[in-house]
Amino acid sequence: MLAKLMKYEVKATARWFLPLYVSVLLFALINKFTWYGPFMENKFSFTDSSINNPALSGNSFVPVIKGIMSSLFMFIYVMLFVGLFVATLIVVIQRYYKSLLGDEGYLMFTLPVNAWQHILNKLVISALWCLLSSIVGICSILILIPREALQELPYAFARVKEFIGVSGIVIFVLGAVTSLVLGILKIYSAISLGHLFNKYKLLLSFVMYLAIDAITQVVWMLITVFSVNISLNKIDFASMSNLHQVKYVFAALTVLNVVFSAGHFLLTSYLVKRRLNLE
C-alpha cells in the first residue's frame, strides 16, 4: 500500500517539479552562451564577438540589445534558481496541508491505509524532491561555471576526501539527510498542531512551527551542555584535532536528529489518527 501511495504522490508532485527542473537547467545552458561577466571568460559569447568585430563596432545598438538580453537571461535564471527552493518548500507544505488535512483528506483517510503510512509517504517523497532540487540547483551552477574551473573539481573533491576521510563524508551526509528529514517532520507537526484549532489554522501552524523550533533549540542546547560535561570526563575532547571535534559534533547531531524525528513522527501520527477533524 505504501508503494501505491508513493506512486500517486510522485505523480501528483512531478507535474510541478519536472517543468521547473527543465527550465532551471535550460536557462543555465542559455546563460552559458550569452552571459559575459567579470568572472566569466566565455569564448562562445556572441556579445564578445560583436564588440570585437570592427564591422559592428560602429553600430552600438546591437551590443546594447545583446547586453540587455544577456542580463535578462541571467535575471530569469537567478529567479528560477531561487524559485526552485521556494517552490520545493511550498510543495512540501502544500502536499501535507491540502492533500491530507484539506478536502482531499476525506479520500485519503478512507483508503485502507494506516495514518503513519500516509505520513511516511509524504515524508519520503518530499525529502526526495528536496534532494533532487538541490542536485538540479548544483548542476545548473556546474553548467554555468567556465570549463577551466570545472576541471579543478575532481581535484577539489580529492582534497576534501583526503582532509576529512570517507568516515567524514559519511558523517556529513548522514547529518545533512537527517536534518532534512527532521526539518520536514517539524513542518508536519506544526501543521497538525495548528489544525487542532477551529480558526486561523495556517497562522497558528506557523506559530506552532516557531514554538517547535524554539523548543528544539533549547533541548539541543541543554543536551550539548550536558553531554559535553559527560564526555569531557570520558573522552578527552580537548586533545582531539579540530576535525575530530567537528566529526564528533556532527555524529551527535545525527543521533539527535533521528531521536527528534521519531518524536515528531509519533506526534504527527497520533494527531492525525486520533485528533483529526476534517472540515
Binding site: M1, K4, K7, Y8, A12, R15, S99, D103, E104, G105, Y106, L107, F109, T110, L111, P112, V113, N114, R274, R275, L276, N277, L278
Partner: protein, 232 residues
Amino acid sequence: MNNILECENLSKYYGSTKALDSVTLNIPEGRIVGLLGPNGSGKTTFIKICNDLLTPTKGRIRIGGFEPGIETKKIVSYLPEKTYLNNWMKVSELINFFKDFYTDFNTDKAYDMLNKLKIDANTRLKTLSKGTKEKVQLILVMSREAKLYLLDEPIGGVDPAARDYILDTIIKNYSENATVIISTHLISDIEKILDDIIFLKDGQVILSKTVDEIRDESGKSIDALFREVFRC
C-alpha cells in the same frame, strides 16, 4: 439476519457540546436506511465516526465485527458531502486510483455508468462542473462492491432531475446483502426507496423503525412524520 453495523452508547463531545449522545443502533445487512434529521443533528458526526475520521468520546462501534480502521475501510464505501477529488487527475486516472486501493472496485461498472451519464473519462476534473464532479464521485463510490455504503447528502447539490437518476443508481448498483445508509434532510425525494429510517435530533436517536411499521402505525408518510417530530 446479521448486523453490518452495531453501536452502543456512541457519543462524541466537542467541549460541552454533545454532537452525538449515547447512540445505540443495530443495522442489519441488506437494508436501505435513511438517517434523517435537521441540520446539526449529528448525522455527519455519526458517519464520520463510522469512517474512522473522528474518534468517539465514549461508547463502542463495530462494522462487520471490526472497530473503524483498515478492516472496515475495505468494506465501507463512503460518499462525503465534500468534493474530495483532486483537480489535476483525469476521470480515468481516478478510476485507476480506486482500483489500485480497493479490491472490491468494479471498473466495468464505473465505465458503464460514466457512459450512461455521458461523462468522458478522458476529461480532467478541473474542467467539470460541480454537479458533474458530484456525479463522478457517486459513480466511484457506487462502483465498489462494498458491504456498507455511507452516503452523506448524496442528492443535496444536484437538480431534481438528476436526483432521480442518482437514487436509481444507488438502488441498482448496491450489492446484494449490502446496506446503504443515506443521510439527508430531503426526505420526500428518497422516501420511496427506504426500508428503514432513523431520526436523529440533538445527537440522539429519537426514532428507529421500518418504513412499513411507520405507515401501519401512524398512517403517515415519512415526510409528514418528520415535519411533525421536528416542528420548530
